[in-house]
Symmetry: D2
Subunit: 346 residues, 4 copies
């Protein structure tokens, strides 16, 4: 059994990691680190885990972690993870970091979007961007994974086949994304209160959201040229789920059916990517609770523009599920271990 | 007191019209027509109206309507209204039609998007498009008003200042709109069931929604050239409200602040349009339950693109409220009579 | 115009008071006091009020309030109000207090349920319990009103006809109440976060909720003997609204129809109380957004027990609406001024 | 591998059965019967199942079922199941019926509450009530199981320890239950529409809900005397979950702690029953998506009354999960096979 720890285990991404790991046949959770709930049983903080995972949360102790874990998931606040990760890495642990700290090829991009220099630029070079469908082989040979952001996973997978096949004007990309409220985390904040969210929607961080830079990095790689694009996040009154609607101008006339075929071919070996037939589109409820990605598209022949609709569960494929998928890759488990559940739908 | 009738008064747009009229100081509701609930008191169908409007619904009888109403709101299913409206018009009534039948300048556009020839092309010429902020003077002199669609009101008002001032590339317009479920009406349908909607989102009628044609018509008028654009409607898990996020490429560099000033000037006399200061954006809860429109914007200088966020209550400014505003205009009431309530927020 | 102030105007009860007052023809809001938002326009804190109420919030200044207000609503946290109210009362202001501080006939009851002695027992004697339907005449002659709690209004009105008419075993009363989340206020708290509330329900403060004591006080008065009862509050995933289901054993056999008649007679002069016909029951959506109370009942002849279902909007009849109704009573406005709106339903 | 069929597989209880079976290591789903969707792939009707269960739904054919299934779950509308079950039983199949048809010991009780004579009284005698925690041994030796109703499972388990230990006045029992909307099924109905449910609550079928009779039957068995009780169902704006609040008068003084101990002892061998410590109570989100039952309680010493709060997921422990648990029992699988998932919480 692989011994794993979850650092930041009582936040929403952390607890979803615990929930998924509790179904994984090859791992044992040995440590859950939580500053706020140290000394309490995780199943007292999240009572859905009673009898399933009753570990007591502990404060952070690098030595203790190193002794008792082969691999850690770090779901710490941005900034906190960069303090801890170098010491854990030095001790030989495998690390899957759910923060934004190790998602970049270029520390300057990090600095630009995070507003501060990267604290471990040398470690950044050791890390790989953990979008499994695009970087599977690289991931397998690394032990520090920058687990992608939720919006970015949903957006990159939606556009990758178009960019990689040079089908669109790369200057025309617009991504309009809608997220559930778990995306804002468990920290107390007025905008996350029930009465402020329910029966409402809003756009936020228009033209400035950090995930923009991740999407641009990955699509630029695929394109072989620098891509800049519009990304607008929105908050929707639901717990889980992201729906991204992406727009781009086609370089040449293509039908919906032709593009669907191209997508199917691009993702033919990908268990977790579901390409929808022409005439159908994914909805959030198709994937909630699961690691699946739904992608559908429509060509608007009047405008020679393609509209791609993609959905993921922000906590699963957008965070904890992809983290487990990365663990499976770097530890030699079958890639879908612990991740085969259907979405809830209801 | 103006005697008014509401035809189709038990659908969601109809009942919201009744609710608003019940607060209007200058009108008396004399008839509520409902095929499904004829013979029942409206306050038994919608018990929020008990003691406020206890009229008994009646089946449609054109003679009876003509005798007892000066003005009618027709909130009938598409198609049904076109049967009734010619006879009522002939009898001299003022008519505010909430269907799509009288929203077009050109019957061919109607035919193209509705898939059937218009049944009263001569009457279409007598009608005017009831977007009060753009056609106020014309509205005042007509007695058949095609009350605009919900998505269209939200979208047109968001883009009008840009188009009218020739600030954008008219080929670059993309509107990504999110609506509450009342937009789907009260008719029984699986996708409108609670368990199919809540905690989910979806895009629908991508590149084919009829409201596209209304938006194009109005923006083309303002531009003096034909505009075609992308419009994508989405269903969000809330009752009321539309949030539209519109994208366009700027012809020249402009700052957010400059554009906000242009918007403020464009709408300076408009009571129901709230232009948001740079750095703030409207949210659905700001306008739910009210006739107000919130508009804010952000310029993305990296891409020289503007992102406009606009919100309305689909049942009020997007249907019943604008219908009452139109009534006020054509009947000589102060334009905001019965429409001054703040949104609910909570 | 009556000059009124709202102290604690940015909490949920406070802002609902502002919203309702903005529709009241006889008052002018001259002061909104908010410690947290002093210096900001109320319409920047709650943007639904833009153009409707743009007053700047101010810090508390008793002299200033006394000079500029004839009447104040105090929607301050429990405890805070008791500091302020004596000084305002001394200066001759009319005061409607939305806290629990002035709801008791007996300071010992306050002390027992609030865990501390009452700070102004002499002022408590000057105050009257502001449940308009039961204490109308007394209210009119007082100028310090203890505005009732939300659960209590819904529960007392549901049971008053039974108790006053000696129809039930007073030892058998059980009230099971379900509230929307605005009842928890705007203060940041984990249990009020969207992701912790939505798609869930819970009971809380079982057998210990303070509103129990208010209900017991009022029903005991009506009964002429001491009543103790079970009261269980629950949190439901909605913003507004309370539904209370009350149970009691009948002293003698009565049919549903007979009891409905007794209720109708009891409330025959009450504009805001809607007694439902046998076979129908109130639902939260019938009253949301309005000052109305819906009451229906079913007799279970198998058990000779009556089940009463009652609904109010906790922010309106349960707080701000009743406060305005009290203002109308003590200031000589028609009792329903500013309160005649239908509920939203949608 | 056990070959199983799901009859009525596209309703909400049916599809949840399919979802749970898809995780069960010992079964193969060979048939999904759906009148409405015959000929369509189940994963086109519920797209969360794509790649997980892609069986084509078929119309009902008893011969075909008998040949291809060892066991069937019948999640058919009340009435429909009683047509089919006798023929399937005759052919030797194991049957777990999710309708109300085989839940009664006494056909007269069925007749009284369902308003029609039972169509297979002789088969009723062959069946056993499938509440696993109470009838485990009997279940193992039968092959026709009347799977309990959702409200009943939640209510009976909440009260069983009190009744079995003769701790309460059996005449004093009141159960106030709140259910999510999946409980109303997938059939099109106005009250199940999103805009009619969200932000509202209602009581329904007060004193007449059929589940009352199941609860009374089971508690009477435990008591050894006939029990009649009040049961009030409510609809809450959530998809899944039931929270039942039960009230009863204690025969003697007991503390909360003492009763908790009694509950723990009563359920000490029950994996799926979680008794909460004094001072804590279950919430719907603790059990949503899982087969667990949460039970907590509070004694109100003022009234010598106990309040028990219990929660289940109506689709899992209240329907499909318990059905799978029953299958495990009668087929010799470990009782928790396929049922060990933690609830979603988020």
């Amino acid at each position: 059994m692989l011994k794993v720890g979850v650092l930041g285990g009582t936040g929403y991404a952390g607890i979803e990691t615990v929930r998924l790991l509790s179904k994984h046949s090859g791992v044992e959770i040995t440590r859950i680190v939580s500053q706020s709930f140290a000394g309490q049983k995780i199943s007292d903080v999240y009572q859905n885990l009673r009898g399933i995972c009753d570990l007591t949360c502990c404060a952070l102790d690098v030595e203790d972690i190193a002794e008792n874990c082969d691999l850690v998931f770090t779901a710490l606040p941005h900034g906190a993870s960069k303090e801890v990760i170098p010491s854990l890495y030095e001790k030989g642990l495998k690390i899957i970091d759910l923060s934004g700290d190790f998602r970049y090829n270029d520390e300057k991009v990090y600095e630009k979007w995070y507003g501060a220099p990267h604290s471990s630029p040398e470690l950044l070079k050791e890390s790989v961007y953990g979008l499994c469908e695009l970087h599977r082989d690289e991931i397998k040979t690394h032990r520090l994974i920058g687990n992608p952001g939720c919006y970015t996973t949903c957006s990159i997978l939606a556009l990758a086949p178009l960019v990689a096949n040079r089908l669109i004007d790369n200057k025309s990309i617009i991504i309009d994304a809608k997220s559930g409220v778990t995306g804002a985390g468990r920290g107390l904040a007025l905008p996350s209160m029930f009465c402020e969210c329910t029966e409402s929607m809003k756009a936020y961080k228009v033209a400035t959201h950090r995930h923009t830079s991740e999407i641009e990095q990955e699509l630029s790689c695929l394109a072989g040229e620098e891509i800049m694009l519009s990304f607008t996040p929105h908050l929707a009154p639901m717990k889980r789920g992201i729906l991204a609607t992406s727009y781009a101008s086609l370089q040449a006339e293509k039908s919906t059916e032709e593009l669907v075929e191209i997508y199917k071919k691009f993702y033919q070996k990908e268990k977790f990517v579901r390409v929808y037939e022409a005439g159908t589109l994914p909805e959030v409820k198709h994937i909630t609770g699961s690691n699946y990605v739904g992608i559908g598209l429509v060509v608007d022949p009047r405008l020679r523009r393609v509209v791609v609709v993609s959905c993921i569960d922000n906590l699963v494929k957008g965070a904890a599920g992809q983290a487990v998928q990365n663990m499976n890759l770097i530890c030699g488990f079958p890639e879908d271990t612990g991740l085969t559940d259907a979405g809830f739908y209801l």
